[in-house]
């Protein structure tokens, strides 16, 4: 025979179990949404009020292809900040769960420099009179091996300074590294037309490869890197 107080204790315990299970489920859902929102956040240096369409050249490891996709983004007005925001958004896309080209989450770009082409140096021109602010006048000096002239007036070289934390965690392999670089080059070509060439640094220093394969020393011409045929390869 079961006493009345035992039945009451039993049903109270069942109620507690159901309540705890509900709380656990709700907390799990809340945590999952928080992680997804963090993965999808877009770091911007100077958020703008309105969004605009941008083209991201997204890589796919499965078939070695790159395809262009449209996104709506709020971009800063200043060009260097725009480049950085674009690249941060690109890497954030790759860090999303289920990405076809999975990369580690986190900021990849430390700094972006845009230099007018052709790249020249400057030396002090002692023969010329001082400037209005009292500093000595300078004159441009061509490099020993002059770089290519800009294809269009106003053409620029983009120097992308990557963070070593991003580079050191990048997957190793010819294809996966090449896809990352081509994806960056293609995205810049699609959105910042004055960029004609792209170079890479890591923590401000030249580095031979991204993760043992893809060349980081060469200057990449800015071009459309989207694969015409998504079959990939030949």
């Amino acid at each position: 025979m079961i006493y009345k107080h035992q039945r009451i204790v039993f049903w109270v315990m069942v109620g507690c179990i159901v309540l705890m299970a509900t709380l656990l489920f709700l907390e799990r859902q809340r945590g999952r949404e928080r992680i997804l929102s963090l993965a999808n956040q877009m770091p911007l240096d100077a958020p703008a009020a309105s969004t605009e369409p941008v083209t991201l050249d997204l890589a796919n490891d499965d078939n070695g292809s790159i395809h262009a996709e449209q996104r709506q983004m709020a971009l800063p007005v200043e060009v260097n900040a725009r480049v950085r925001a674009l690249l941060d958004q690109l890497i954030a896309e790759y860090a999303l769960p289920g990405s076809a080209h999975p990369l580690q989450q986190g900021s990849a770009v430390s700094e972006v420099f845009l230099l007018p082409l052709p790249v020249v140096g400057y030396s002090v021109n002692s023969a010329a009179p001082l400037r209005a602010d009292g500093t000595p006048a300078t004159s441009p000096v061509a490099a020993d091996t002059p770089g290519p002239a800009p294809a269009n007036p106003g053409g620029e070289l983009a120097v992308i300074d990557l963070r070593s934390t991003f580079v050191n965690q990048h997957p190793s392999g010819v294809e996966v590294e090449s896809l990352t670089l081509l994806s960056i080059v293609g995205t810049l070509h699609a959105n910042i037309p004055q960029i004609e060439q792209v170079r890479f640094l890591v923590d401000g220093q030249p580095r031979e490869t991204l993760a043992g394969h893809a060349d980081l020393l060469r200057t990449y011409p800015s071009r459309d890197t989207a694969t015409p045929n998504t079959g990939g390869g030949q």
């Binding site: 294809e175 031979e208 390869g233």
Partner: protein, 249 residues
Amino acid sequence: MIALATGASLAQSPAQTPAPAPPATAPLNRNIIVLDAAHGGVDSGSRIGDSTLEKDVTLALAFRLRSLLAARGFTVVMTRENDAAQKPGAPAAGNSALTLDDRAGIANHAHAAACLLLHATGAGDGVHLYSSELDPAPAETSVPPWLTAQAAWVSQSTQLEARIGAALQRAKLPLVSSRASVRPVDSLTCPAVVVELAPESEDRNSITDGDYQQRVSEAIAGALVFWAQQVKPPLLLAGDHAAGTEVQP
């Protein structure tokens, strides 16, 4: 060990009107193949499967290729022959690790008919071939820029890539053929192709299968036999090499 043959100029008799000298070409030895087994030592490359490292796969593939090429009469120059990539003749103490530029230097001094940069990956399947992304240059300068020295050889490299690709397809091996900038391929002054070996099937450990590596090596070695006869060195713009110079072992 290396002799210069200038047969074209020696064959002329004094009575004949000197024929216009053929345009000078870059030195080339049709009997030498360079194999660069990528990575080595502390640089293990990518991790393929649980216990397979890229540096071990590339070295194993290089040894197989060397045997098959030697059997076909080639002299094979390898940038490394054991796990650690060491500069040749360097003392054991000190920093004697082989850099990527050292590898390119070894390859360039050989004036080889083909330079194969061997890599391995766990992604995809079959064999991935890559040649330089540089824009082709019509001729080679006497002192080409180090980072774009491959430009004069790009057209030959793409032809070599196509020939090896055709041989791999005949062997019914999955193939991906593309272009990529892989250090130090842009610094090489020889027809250069990056050969990246991927697993044969979804099982990543199949990349170490001896039979699979042997089929890949035989296809490549067979292609190089025909390639050595058809490779054409680029013209030299202003060099101190004799016209039509070919280096003989």
